[in-house]
């Protein structure tokens, strides 16, 4: 049973790239312990939403609250330190750092029961084999695990995941789904941006669908499944 304690509240944010108005009043929320999927076609502003939350492209208008803290214009590192973990699009593994360094680079420990290096290696066994390899030497799936591991090592309360299945073999996507479920079971809040509908709907508690910089659907995975028009118009199913 979910307790409705707001973890992330995004209200009416407008984000621009130069003159182009990319996010046109996005509002969404993630409750504690909830996995929320943000769906939509390419270029509708999903990644920009993530980037706006994490401070890479701060919104010009609107408000972003983490719990009750205003992080609208906070620098990225401050937002991260307040408990936001980022698994970015394209993974952005540090290629010149070893796997070990990638994992431990930003590690922050919590008092009890947080993620530790040992727990990470238990969770991602393939990484344990390759600790001394450079980040650039990993396969795509391993890189994705590493990106998730790197974010978890900061012991976040909320993880922003941007297309974790992108470019991965089906078998690996299944593995990523398994990991996501495990994280949900551990009570982590996740905002998941995905193109892989079945993966997203398989793990999400709630779903938002975006189109052209705006939210066009908000509801449960079941609700979305039951709405063929939305599925067809905005997700091409």
């Amino acid at each position: 049973m979910l307790q409705f304690i707001p973890m992330l509240t995004v209200s009416e944010i407008h984000t621009y790239y130069g003159d182009s108005h990319v996010l046109q009043g996005i509002s969404l929320s993630v409750q504690r312990g909830e996995v929320v999927a943000l769906l939509g076609r390419n270029g509708v502003g999903k990644s920009t939403t993530i980037n706006s939350i994490v401070g890479f492209t701060p919104p010009r208008e609107g408000k972003i609250l983490l719990r009750d803290k205003d992080i609208t214009r906070a620098p990225s590192h401050v937002t991260a330190r307040l408990g936001v973990g980022l698994v970015p699009q394209g993974r952005r593994i540090f290629p010149t750092l070893s796997v070990r360094e990638n994992i431990t680079l930003a590690s922050r420990h919590t008092r009890n029961g947080g993620w530790t290096f040992v727990r990470i290696l238990e969770t991602f066994p393939p990484l344990a084999q390759r600790l001394n390899n450079l980040g650039s030497q990993l396969s795509g799936g391993e890189q994705q695990m590493l990106a998730i591991a790197r974010a978890l090592m900061t012991n976040p309360e909320l993880v922003l995941m941007d297309e974790p299945s992108e470019g991965l073999a089906p078998l690996i996507v299944v593995e990523i789904g398994r990991i996501l479920k495990a994280l949900r079971e551990k009570g982590l809040s996740v905002l998941l941006v995905e193109q892989n509908l079945s993966l997203a709907l398989g793990v999400a508690n709630r779903v938002y669908v975006m189109n052209k910089g705006a939210i066009v659907f908000a509801g449960t995975p079941e609700g979305l499944r039951a709405n063929p028009e939305i599925l067809h118009r905005y997700l091409g199913v």
Partner: protein
């Protein structure tokens, strides 16, 4: 043969001197993508501060400590108030204009403070005298410089490759935004690295002064040498700076010794040759990519 070996030794010493004076520039460029044209001016400033320390306190060792500290602090101030505003701007021209302007101001101030006379700093008395190698009395100071350069290179290598701070720096080189997305204040790491690079320039000014003297105009010579080393080695890598320094030091020394007519141009010829074969420099990451 004996002469060749001595010149080889000269080449290594020269290379280490080059490494000391180029390491900071390389580091700053590598992490921050900033071409710090202040480097030559800060070298000179460090040398002059060293001169003052040696004169006032008669201690080369203290000078070796204070000059980098002062220059590093100056670097911190400059980063904080000026360079910081330029991050994320695609154009290098802004940085070039800014750091060049800073260099001119620094040079004018050193001129006002220390005058235009050629100055020299004597090495520490502990390192005075010569050590006989074959029939040559080789200056102990130069041997110490060689050792110091190697130690500095080793220390920097260890810091960059074996510490978490070093990992952050390397991570910042490839993706600064991502580092900050992980909760690390890369901005202050930038500031620290810039200050440290400037401090290295100041340090180089002190250790170089007994060999290269101090005078107005030296700043631009140093800057050019440092740029050549950094370009040859590959922009922004420590290994590049190290082996680039050795290559240029050896080329310069053997050029001067055996084909002096071309000595002046030789290092530039070497630079051109390296860039022809490896456009990114010996250890280049950035240049090779783009």
């Amino acid at each position: 043969m004996e002469n060749f070996l001595i010149q080889l030794l000269n080449g290594f010493v020269s290379g280490m001197l080059l490494f000391i004076l180029a390491a900071g520039l390389s580091l700053i460029f590598g992490l921050m993508d900033v071409i710090a044209l202040t480097h030559g001016a800060f070298y000179l400033l460090g040398g002059y501060i060293g001169l003052t320390m040696v004169r006032a306190l008669d201690s080369f060792w203290l000078a070796l400590l204070v000059a980098p500290l002062v220059v590093g602090l100056l670097g911190l101030v400059i980063e904080n108030f000026f360079i910081r505003r330029l991050y994320g701007r695609a154009r290098h021209l802004d940085q070039v204009l800014l750091t060049f302007g800073m260099a001119l101001i620094t040079i004018d101030l050193t001129r006002a403070q220390w005058g235009a006379y050629v100055e020299s700093v004597s090495g520490p008395p502990q390192l005075a005298g010569q050590f006989r190698i074959f029939s040559v009395d080789f200056p102990i100071y130069r041997l110490a410089l060689l050792a110091f350069g190697l130690l500095l290179a080793l220390a920097l290598w260890l810091i960059i490759n074996r510490t978490r701070l070093g990992a952050i720096v390397r991570a910042g080189v490839s993706d600064a935004q991502m580092v900050s997305g992980l909760g690390i204040n890369i901005q202050s790491v930038f500031a620290g690295v810039f200050a440290f690079g400037c401090a290295l320039a100041g340090l180089a000014g002190v250790v170089g002064a007994p060999i290269l003297s101090l005078y107005p105009g030296l700043d631009s010579e140093i800057l050019i040498l440092a740029l050549v080393v950094v370009v040859v080695g590959g922009l922004g890598t420590l290994e590049g700076a190290f082996f680039g320094s050795l290559l240029i030091g050896l080329a310069d020394t053997f050029g001067k010794a055996f084909i002096p007519e071309f000595a002046r141009f030789l290092i530039f010829a070497v630079m051109a040759a390296v860039l022809l074969i490896r456009p990114g420099g010996l250890f280049g990451l950035k240049g090779a990519d783009s």
